[in-house]
Subunit: 221 residues, 2 copies
């Protein structure tokens, strides 16, 4: 049995869920709150971070190790593909969204609005939110630029770069505030990703205590 | 020709330099200051981050893409090896040092002491330094724990996990303050890594405006 320890607020867990679904894998989910990591999670992953994959007793920890492990073991559907240069381009963009977007947008918006509240009962700092929103615009511009070069973000077909990006954006979109109308090509791209069977489960996500924005689950938003 | 755009303060560039040297690759270095990224660098890497690899006109950006690219194209010396589970363990620890150690130790110590000074002429915040030093102790404990399980951090022979860890630690060690005497096994391990031919170049590193601590280049420290 394949089990993923996750939380709907975790973009990295969302990415792995999308990757497994694209590979038509069956898996079950176990939810753990990232702001209140349990002893059980620390036993599995001493880093105390999500996601964690349990595959028939084998434990694989963290977004990087899990995504490469899935590429190696379930390669009938490949999400890092092509020549070594094309693979490097896909990984460059995975890194962009997993690290740069995460640090510049996710941390400023989602940590402020959600983690701070649940972890410490604190209100968000509007200055930090503003920085996050400015950065979001810049990243949406970059997505538009990439879509002028190719059909999807990392290549002309869907790759792990799209899943990394959509995973991050889907958490932001749950909370609302993405100026989709100003970024038409990014919107068309996200709408295509949203319509994939692998995304169905993500659109049903529910972060306890926070309602999704109205259009969150709409394919035509 | 292989060229790496780097800076001696960048742990990720150090990691790639170590990886290329372990693979007996010949390469030249070009230094760029991370606190004053030039237009040239942005043209190569829109993320504006180091390192950047130029391999006969092919540009590969960022630590993740470069390290996997080198594993794929120069596989006579493998640094991510073994069964898929062993590879996942190596990658888990690469992630640990590239992300967790970087965030919890490097950002608090090196950003405060070096980046803040060169980027903004600001003095370090002693509270942040203290947090970084506390976290450093915890990470050294974890290194000791790993070395009770195996000869090197990720396996019984040297792997990318050791290079990631040693790259981060070597920048901290340049500035001084690692309590090596309290972590004997970590010290023995670091001394082994330091003695490798691949490390020679790192020990000659010079961060302009900052002298290395006395023992930095000593193999017997």
């Amino acid at each position: 049995m394949v089990l993923l320890v996750h939380h709907p607020i975790s973009p990295f867990a969302r990415k792995i869920r999308l990757q497994m679904s694209e590979k038509k894998m069956l898996f079950v989910l176990r939810e753990e709150e990232p702001w209140k990591i349990s002893e059980d999670v620390y036993k599995l992953n001493p880093a105390g971070e999500l996601p964690i994959l349990l595959n028939d007793g084998i434990v694989i920890c963290g977004n990087y190790a899990i995504s490469e492990y899935l590429e190696e073991t379930r390669n009938d559907v490949s999400l890092i593909f092509g020549t070594v240069e094309q693979k490097a381009e896909i990984r460059r963009l995975v890194d962009w969204f997993d690290n740069k977007f995460y640090r510049e947008v996710y941390r400023n918006l989602v940590y402020e609005k959600v983690h701070k509240r649940f972890a410490a009962g604190m209100a968000p700092d509007s200055k930090i939110i503003k920085i996050g929103l400015n950065n979001l615009n810049y990243h949406l511009e970059y997505i538009e630029w990439l879509l002028e070069q190719r059909q999807y973000l990392g290549a002309d077909t869907i790759s792990l770069a799209d899943l990394s990006a959509a995973a991050q954006l889907s958490v932001i979109d749950y909370l609302g505030g993405i100026p989709w109308e100003e970024f038409r090509n990014a919107k068309i791209w996200y709408s295509k990703i949203k319509s994939r069977p692998s995304f169905k489960d993500i659109l049903k996500d529910n972060i306890r205590g926070i309602l999704p924005t109205k259009h969150y689950a709409n394919l035509d938003f």
